[in-house]
């Protein structure tokens, strides 16, 4: 479960990086602007929902693992 913690921290860092890259492009101020914040929140929520969905599908495939396709 130490491994699991490490993984979730890795996922966390990837999420932050992705949402920052996709949402923040102006560096004329040092604070996030309103629309950047909105973008980051949506990005993060979307990514979490995506990850949960992928997790479900992935678990299904792993159960029927020995033979697939």
């Amino acid at each position: 479960d130490q491994l699991q913690l490490r993984d979730s921290l890795k996922m966390y860092n990837s999420l932050v990086e992705r949402c920052f890259v996709d949402c923040v492009d102006s560096f004329t101020r040092k604070s996030l602007q309103k629309q950047e914040e909105t973008c980051v929140m949506r990005c993060a929520e979307k990514f979490l929902k995506h990850t949960m969905r992928v997790g479900m599908r992935f678990a299904e495939l792993n159960q029927n693992a020995p033979t697939q396709d």
Binding site: H50, R53, F58
Partner: protein
């Protein structure tokens, strides 16, 4: 074909544990790459809303399915070419 190598007979408990850990790291990395890749392929990056829409959801399901197949194909190619690791 998803798991790249079954644990061979006659290994010590320590080795088995270490192998199981490696196997798990492999699965975690597979999952992470799959998740990142399907997000890139399927999700609209303009983030107009916080929900995944129907098109995105069905794209994700198919993406996972296809990624899994590619994973299996590559596994077969590798195990055909040379003895298991």
């Amino acid at each position: 074909m998803a798991s790249p190598s079954p644990i061979p007979a006659g290994v010590t408990k320590e080795q088995a544990f270490s192998m199981a850990q490696t196997e798990m790291e492999y699965r975690v990395e597979l999952f992470n790459k799959l998740a990142q890749t399907c997000f890139n392929k399927c999700v609209d990056k303009r983030y107009k809303e916080a929900e995944l829409n129907m098109g995105e959801n069905s794209c994700i399901d198919r993406c996972v399915s296809k990624y899994w197949q590619v994973n299996g194909m590559v596994g077969q190619l590798l195990s055909a070419g040379k003895p298991p690791v």
